[in-house]
Structures are given as C-alpha cells and as structure tokens.
Amino acid sequence: MDFSFSPEQDQLRAQARSFLEKSYPLARLAEIATSEDGWDRASWAELARLGWTGASIPEAQGGAGLSFVEEAIVFEELGRALYAGPFFSTVALALPALACAPDLLAKVASGAFTATLASGTAVQALGAGDRWRLRGETDLVADAGSVDAFVVQARGPDGIGLYLAERHGTRPQVCVLDTVDVSRRLGRVTFADDDARLLAAPPAAAKIIAATRRRALTALALEAVGVASQALALGVEHAKSREQFGRPIGAYQAVSHKLADTYVETELARSLAYWAAWCIAEDDGQAELAAVAAKAYAAEAAVAACERAIQVHGGMGFTWDHPLHRYYKRALWIESFDRSGAAHRADIAQVLLGG
C-alpha cells in the first residue's frame, strides 16, 4: 500500500510545472485565447519533445512506455496552466482508438499528429472492408478546429464502430462554435461522404468506447484539480496582499475559512482523481466507478473553488482582465462534459442501491 509518486514521477511534475509556468504564464492567457487559432501551435512539438504526447505509447512506437499515472500528472499540470492545445483531445479522447493503428501511435508520439473524438449516434458509416465513407453531423467536438483528424463513433451495418477521418483542406467541414471556454474551443463537424478508415469494428469498438470514457472523465477530474489549485493560489495570494480596515483580508475568518474549504475540497478531489488514475493504469475493476466519482466531485470542487476565488477578489475578480474567469469557464465546461454531477451520482446510486 503506497499512495505516493515515485521520484521519477515527482520529477516529471516539477519539469511540467516549470515549463508551463515559463511558456504559458497567466499573463499570456488572454493573448493566446484571442489569437486566431486559440492556441500556440508551436507548442505541440515542444510537448512531444518533453515526452508528454507519447508518455503511455509503447517504446516500439516511439513512446515512453509509461502508464496513465504519468499522463495524469501532465493532465493536472496542463489544467493548472489552462493550456489551450489539443492534448486532452489527442491523449485522453483519441488515443485508445488510435492504439488500433500502430502507425498512428508513432505519429502521436513524435508530435506529428493530433486528433479528437467525434461521438454521438448521428453519424453513419457506409461501405465495407477497408473502404468507408462517413455521413452526418456531430456537435460540441473538443478542439475540432485544431486537430489533424477525427476519431468518429459511427453506426455501420453491424453497429457502432470507430473510424478515423483525417482532415484534408476543408473536408470534413468544421465550424468552430462561439462557446464559453475559449481556451478549449468546441466545434460542429459535418461529414458528407468523407473517406474514413475503420479503426475498430463492433463489438470490439464498444470496449474501446467505454475505456475512452473512463480516461476522459479521469483526465478531466485531474484538469479540474489543476484548475482548483490555481484558483486557490490566486485567492490566497490576494487575501494576503489586499488590505482593508488596516489588515490583510485573509486575517478575517469570513475570508480565510472560505479558502480553507477550497483547500479541503481540492485535496479530496485530488485523492479521488489519483485513485481513478491508478485504477485506469492498473485496469482495476473499480476504474469505472472511480472515474465517475472523481469527475463528479472534482468538477464541482473546481467550480466552487473558482466561485470562492472570484468572491475573495471582490470587484476585481468580476472583471474580464483578471484571469479567474478563464479558469471558471474551464471548470464549467468540465462540469458539463459527458453528464452532470447529479447524473453521475445517479449512476453511482444505481450501483449502490440497484433499482
């Protein structure tokens, strides 16, 4: 029984934090968010060079052959920095399906390829063998405008399968939507008989889809922990320096106890998220339940952390210029991902209480 990170894992975290603090300080968030792409494309090669895109990819495909625990560290740190590139999309959402194609894994590891998941039931796969075309539309696809390809959940003749549609010019058609969190832009992807490659046919695809969901929920729980930690740090910093009535406002318990509650909830969320990460790395039987519990709890903790930090900042926290609203909006998006906290808890109640 040892719930601690190894020295190598601690080193990975230290490296990630120092790289992100240097390259993506809070002061750059607004500039990156309002840029045309919405992210720093040059950063991707850097992430690959650091070994992050290939952390869990086997060494034979050019990866580091590590586990989801190492990826977990990176997800948390990217959340803290509110990194805007398609790392979550590529590594959490697309990678399990891409594992069906070793050539693609090698490209992900080297930083030459990014992808996201276009899920939903409205896309049809037409064709047979190794010639497939996709038809239909999916909405709110994460990083749709940033990636090189889409892993598509589509209905073929035998049921739901997983297909890969690469982007060529204007096909498939992508419309980036005006959504709340501009640091992770969402888009509508329309397939009009676009060519696709079959990655996994039913019933194997169902297993990959379930595993992808567990990874995604856990990755977002970790991101949420990063978001909550940053919101807490900003709140504490402000409470130490802002003076009213002759004292730093952090000396007043009405302020300090709010921040203490954020600390407590962030630590509990962290424990759940690490537990879920370990379950996924070990393919533990509790992985599903752990991932759902971690995401439900951590998302709400991150939202509450941002709301308390905004309150502690007073009028400043309510302004566009302050970075807090960007963290808050990421937390709100995480909360909305997959299902609401209440719906996740209903799933857990189903396991506990039946019915």
Binding site: Q9, Y263, V264, S271, A349
Partner: protein
C-alpha cells in the same frame, strides 16, 4: 504507487480479520461507547486479549514492548477493527497519546514504570487538558501546579475528559508560574487518579449517556518523579501529545464512516430505494467516503516518508465530522416519524443515537473552526486571525 496491500500487509490483514471474527466478544459487537460498567468490564478483558495477540502498540518501538511496525499496519488494524465493528483498546489515550509522549520525553524510570501497563490495559489513562475557561485556546489553562517540597500540589478543574471515570492515570497540563508568557509557564504532570483530592464527575451528554467527565483537583500532591519534561516546559510536551492524536486518526474515522455508509445504503435500499433525492444524497456520501479513504492513504504515505503527520489529518477530521452529521441526519429523514422513538434495538433508536452523538463530532478533538484556522494559517500561510 500501489493501492493494494503488499504480501506482508495482506497476510497481516487476513490474520487479523480471522482473529477478530473469532475473538470479538458478543457483548461488544456493534459497540456504541464505554458508558455502562458492563461494557467497561468486557472492554478490559477485550483490551488484554488485543495486547496478548500483539495488536496493542503496533507502531511503538520494540524496546518498549511495541511491535515496531511501520504506520501502515496501524492503518490496517484500524480499518479492520472498524470493519468488524469492534471497539478499540480501552486504553487509547495511553496508547495514542500518553505512551508516545512518555517515549519522547520520559526518563528511563518513567518508561519502565508506565509503558508496559499501558499496552496490557492494566492501567487506563485519561487526558486533563481542556478546562471550563480553556477549550480551543489550550495555552490559557489555569489549573495550578505549584512546586512544594519534593513535589507539586495541583489545584483546578479539567473537563471533557473521556475515560476519566475508569482511569488510573491522567496526563495533566497546568500552570506553574503566573508572571511569565502564557506558553512558558506550563508544566506537564502524570497524576495518579487514586490520589486524595481527585474527584471525577461524569458529564451527561446530549445522548443521555456519560462518556466524558469533569475532574476536580483539590490540593492533590504529585511526587516530583511524575514530572514529564521540565517545569515550565509543558507546552512542548503537550504538542507531542496532540500531534500523535492526528497520526493515523483518519483511518479510525474513515473506518467508522465506512460502516455508517454501509448501514445507510442498507436503510435506503429498504425504505427509500426509488426516491431520487435520497439516491443523490447517498451517492454523495459514498463519494465523500472514498475521498476521505484515499486522502488517508496519501497522508499515510507522507507520514511513512517524513515521520511527521501532514495537514491531511486536519482535512480528514473536518470532513469526517461534517459527513457523519449529514449522513446520520439523512438516515433520520429516511426513517421519518418513527425516529422519534428513542428506545429498543432497531434502526430508529440506532440512528437517533448516532445522529445526536454526531453533533459532538465537529467540537471534540479540535472544533471545525479551529481546524479551518489551522489550514488557513499553517497550510495556506494566511495571516493569523487573532
């Protein structure tokens, strides 16, 4: 990172689980407190058996009669004890507070005299820290410890002292000078509870039972060999006592909460299985329990690496107490009008007792307000609020 038991912990857990199944006395299963003399009599025997089987003082050094094991074994022990709904050793104050303090600050003759009898439950200890005027602000204690002749004379009153009604000895924090700063005038003594001038009055609590007591000291003579640390050095000794309280405390709490959540799930299945609001709240409590459990494991890893309990101890106590209050109240709501019935062995009386008892959870062993202050000041580095 590995959240499974290693082979040795696994074997220890399996042996302990089987031992508990065979050895927990029927009269102590589903244990609720030491308020009746019959329970105490069973408890003495039970504690002796725990000690004989090697489960007392698991983390104490071998030279003092302990098992010298890493903290994780104490964690497994607390988890399994909670799982079996078996009471802890009757001498928890001795094992978890007085003993480690004597090991850290005691002279060789004090170690010889006290430690073995703590393990064997021959002597039960209580704690004389809090006073009517000194709760959260412990350093303001006013009980007088006056050096007189070859020893001390103690005068004053202590309160909220669990086990005092059955205790043989008391760890007492008192004031030996008036002139100096408040932390520096404190002195730490071991007091024989059979001494003339010691009077114990049980305090009846919100549940109707009496688990804790007032202790009155009137001209109680204490020999000088009962001094722990130096005259005026009591604060440092007291801090050792309190830090040990928080070491693996969280495991006992999460263990108790695990039992409570299991019972709540059973109750909800039976009486409110389809109510969506109840289902949501049960799921919340289950998630909180997992969060607490894994926070304890993180705390344990830190404790084993550094030897010092981290801030997770305060986190666990704070959240456990609030979870237990919410959970017991939910059970009462599920039961409905029937929960007004206070007697009997059924679910209504059980949950009513647990719900009333839970109101003490956010007050005992550090109020929630003090724990939030500790987190704000010592963990987050915010300025002191006073």
């Amino acid at each position: 990172m590995d959240l499974r038991d290693g082979p040795e912990e696994g074997a220890f857990r399996a042996t302990l689980r089987a031992w508990l199944e065979a050895n927990v006395p029927a009269g102590l299963r589903g244990f609720r407190g030491w308020s009746s003399p019959a329970a105490v009599a069973l408890g003495r025997d039970w504690s002796k058996r725990l000690a004989e089987a090697g489960y007392a003082g698991l983390t104490w050094p071998k030279e003092y009669g302990g098992a010298g094991r890493p903290w994780r074994y104490q964690a497994v022990y607390l988890e399994e004890l909670a799982r079996a709904e078996a009471p802890q050793h009757l001498g928890v104050i001795g094992l978890g507070m007085a003993g480690p303090t004597i090991i850290a600050h005691g002279r060789p003759d004090q170690k010889t005299r006290y430690l073995a009898k703590i393990l064997s439950a021959e002597e039960i200890w209580c704690q004389g820290f809090s006073e009517p005027g000194s709760g959260s602000d412990l350093a303001s204690v006013r009980t007088r410890v006056e050096p007189v002749g070859a020893g001390f004379v103690v005068n004053g009153q202590k309160v909220w002292s669990s086990y005092a009604h059955i205790a043989d000895r008391c760890i007492l924090l008192g004031r030996s000078t008036t002139a100096s700063e408040k932390h520096e005038g404190l002195t730490y003594l071991i007091v024989d509870m059979k001494s003339p001038g010691v009077e114990v009055r049980p305090l009846r609590q919100i549940t109707g039972e009496a688990e804790f007591n007032e202790i009155f000291f009137t001209d109680v003579a204490v020999p000088k060999e009962n001094l722990l640390g130096d005259v005026g050095g009591g604060w440092r000794v007291a801090m050792t006592t309190l830090s040990h309280e928080r070491g693996t405390f969280g495991f006992a709490l999460a263990g108790a909460l695990d039992v409570a959540v299991r019972k709540l799930v059973g109750l909800a299945r039976e009486r409110a299985g389809t109510d969506a609001l109840v289902r949501d709240r049960v799921a919340r409590e289950w998630i909180d329990l997992q969060a607490l459990r894994y926070t304890n494991y993180r705390a344990l890893a830190r404790l084993e690496r550094t030897g010092v309990p981290g801030p997770e101890g305060s986190v666990a106590k704070l959240r456990w107490s609030e979870a237990n209050q919410r959970l017991t109240k939910l059970a009462i709501e599920i039961i409905g009008r029937e929960a007004q019935v206070a007697d009997g062995d059924g679910a209504p009386a059980y949950w009513r007792h647990q719900q009333l008892r839970s109101r003490g959870n956010t007050i005992e062993a550090g109020t929630s307000e003090i724990l939030r202050n500790i987190i704000a000041e010592r963990v987050l580095g915010l300025p002191r609020s006073r």
